[in-house]
Symmetry: C2
């Protein structure tokens, strides 16, 4: 089985909430998630989409319902650390270039954990360059190296290529998952992502047990 | 346990797909769905919302993904009879007034089955008064009585009241379900609807078995 692609941008709280529970999905299913850094603003520009906060702002009841579903998701999965970021929306261009740089520097997993935590647990204003730099330094990450790499043409063009590739397989927002050739959008489809992985990997019989664990 | 409210309009294919599988949900959970006729156009007017076909028409990939999820739902639940209606969108005002009239006349369940089938299985142009009337006649329903009742102030105002009540509990589109005080939107949340019913009715242990049946 190929890895499951997880197209992510640090700016999406729904992608963060997925990030928090993917380790449990991996542990019980044997799936492995391949985190692909993309620029959500780029996806929006290429598809004509907008963030839910913008698109649904004028629709009565709709954002309230989105927030209710977020509370349900957080409660169901026992996520206690999630905080709305008071500086939202945050421009994530440097953070996402930094993610590609962290792949090149071999510190990707730690970088992703740290930046996600600063965005959606520690309420930091991560598009402030000084805050971003001190986050990396405090975490023991190679800050200067990452910031330098993030300005290279190679890193910039890799982020653009990732973003274009997400749109070419059907993405229009975040979080987006790709299981083999099957696309899934939204944190509420993680059960379907897991079931599709089990189906493709011939573990059909494990589905009932996994449901039990997920509820 | 109270019945689960299902706010429906014949114009929504997603509500029709729910209608097709609610009997299976009722049979295995003991839940009973209380069909509440509402005017989706009225909900859209009151909330500033639009149909997905309008709202997402200009967003690349998004309607393709909605259609993919519809195909998945249809396949998962073995629904073979679903057809897109070539006359879509269809003005459902008379059909929904007719539904309230059918409640008063004691023929509600049959009326709902017939009109839904004509909309999403038999491809009929149901906002053509002659087609609507012949549908009722062919089904052995009291056509003249229903058409007459549908024009009464009592029926008209009951449909308006149902629609306002849906918005007042948080609805903004279709299908919408209300389990006790818990609101759910969308055909893809039917599993959550069923789980919430089991939770409220103290059948927590039945959830794993139900998952198994649903997949």
């Amino acid at each position: 089985m190929d890895k499951i692609k997880f197209f992510f941008d640090f700016g999406s709280p729904n992608a963060f909430l997925c990030h928090k529970i993917l380790p449990a999905v991996e542990a019980r299913s044997g799936a492995v998630f391949d985190y692909v850094p993309v620029l959500l603003g780029g996806i929006f520009k290429m598809t004509g989409n907008q963030s839910p906060f913008t698109a649904f702002a004028s629709i009565k009841n709709k954002l309230d319902y989105e927030q209710l579903e977020t509370r349900r998701f957080v409660a169901r999965h026992g996520i206690t650390s999630f905080r709305s970021n008071p500086h939202f929306p945050i421009n994530t261009l440097q953070l996402m270039r930094g993610a590609v740089a962290a792949q090149a520097a071999g510190v990707f997993a730690q970088y992703v954990d740290e930046v996600y935590a600063c965005m959606w647990e520690r309420e930091r204003k991560m598009d402030d360059p000084a805050v971003f730099r001190s986050t990396l330094v405090d975490a023991g990450l190679p800050a200067e190296k990452l910031l330098e790499l993030a300005q290279t043409d190679d890193v910039k063009s890799r982020l653009v290529a990732n973003t274009e590739s997400a749109v070419s397989v059907g993405a229009f927002g975040s979080p987006t998952f790709l299981v083999g050739g099957e696309l899934f959008f939204g944190k509420d489809r993680l059960r379907d992502v897991e079931e599709e992985f089990l189906r493709q990997s011939g573990q059909r019989g494990g589905i009932a047990a996994i449901h039990h664990a997920a509820t």
